[in-house]
């Protein structure tokens, strides 16, 4: 693989769907929909996540997100953010599917308001139910290799372990667990949550993750469009570095210049 143009052809496939970018982006917390659209464009992402919420029936002329993100151009990945139990997560998933873009669902069953860590027991149950109903389930999970296997067995199309708590910007807190997940999982691994800045995304990709999903690191940056572009390059850099293969870490030095020919 060559840098530059060839990087754009580094596609991957999940359940027959071809993904053209390894940088997946969230659409929450932007100033307005115009900024959201500019950020998505700069990110080069082709997957954008959205949430499912009540239509504003009071202000009936309020703009609609999908006026700014063309579902023909981008893959819309609805989430079940805000769901704290299996019933709600399944209900939101079914509504999302009916709202009509695809069978994909970024499944969240949240266990606790303060950490927003997943309730993995509920997550497993909801994954089972939705996979049986034909959903393409992307569960947001802990960086737990055993749970990743369980989710895979339950029919998850990929697993989305967190790097750190949602919106925390702490980066990849447990690269060793991610490495184990990557070694043991047969489904793609997409880091979801925790990335704070471009280099965090590069770390995830260098480990061998298939993609990263990022929202707050971009939306919360002083210049979201610039950060989207920075992370785009970091994801490419990390992916190329993974393909290139890192050198082993050693305690002592190895000279780069030859001894031969010295005076």
């Amino acid at each position: 693989m060559r840098a530059g143009g060839a990087m754009l052809e580094d596609n991957f496939i999940i359940r027959g769907i071809e993904f053209k970018s390894r940088f997946w982006i969230g659409t929450g917390k932007y100033k307005d929909f115009e900024e959201t659209a500019r950020v998505i464009e700069a990110s080069g992402a082709d997957v954008v996540t959205v949430a499912v919420r009540r239509v504003n029936i009071i202000d009936r002329n309020s703009p609609n997100l999908l006026d700014f993100i063309d579902p023909g151009k981008y893959k819309i990945l609805p989430n079940t953010a805000g769901c704290y139990n299996v019933e709600d997560a399944v209900r939101y998933s079914r509504l999302a599917r009916e709202a009509g873009v695809s069978d994909m669902i970024k499944l969240e069953v949240i266990g606790d308001e303060k950490t927003l860590f997943p309730d993995t027991i509920g997550l497993l149950k909801a994954t089972e139910i939705l996979a049986k109903e034909g959903f393409i389930v992307f569960p947001y999970t802990n960086d737990d290799p055993i749970m990743a296997k369980r989710l895979e067995d339950a029919g998850a199309a990929a697993v989305m372990p967190l790097g750190a708590p949602i919106g925390s910007g702490l980066g990849i807190r447990n690269p060793y667990n991610l490495k184990i997940i990557l070694e043991s999982a047969k489904v793609p691994v997409i880091v979801d949550a925790g990335v704070g800045i471009a280099s965090d995304a590069a770390v995830a990709m260098e480990l061998g993750c298939d993609a990263v999903l990022i929202n707050t690191a971009v939306a919360g940056a002083k210049e979201p469009v610039l950060m989207a572009e920075a992370i785009k390059y970091a994801v490419w850099a990390g992916r190329l570095a993974y393909k290139a293969g890192r050198i082993p870490k050693k305690l002592y030095a190895t000279a780069s210049s030859p001894i031969e020919g010295m005076l």
């Binding site: 959205v50 499912v52 009540r54 609609n64 997100l65 949602i166």
Partner: protein
């Protein structure tokens, strides 16, 4: 008749779901509708009757991570 939409009590004289959505200026293509906790398929919007006391939820996509 009195119905509830997204938690708000409303009065309407529309008889079927598609007419109600039109009254609310909502494009059916971008929403999902639940009536009394049951999802209504888009193909049924034209025929699904609105009944007194219906509890209707209409959702769409908003920004999220």
């Amino acid at each position: 008749m009195k119905i509830k939409i997204n938690g708000e009590e409303l009065r309407t004289d529309r008889r079927v779901l598609s007419e109600l959505l039109e009254e609310l200026n909502i494009q059916p293509g971008r929403v999902a509708v639940e009536v009394n906790l049951k999802i209504i398929r888009k193909a049924d919007y034209d025929t699904h009757p609105i009944m007194e006391g219906d509890n209707i939820e209409i959702v769409n996509f908003v920004g999220g991570g």
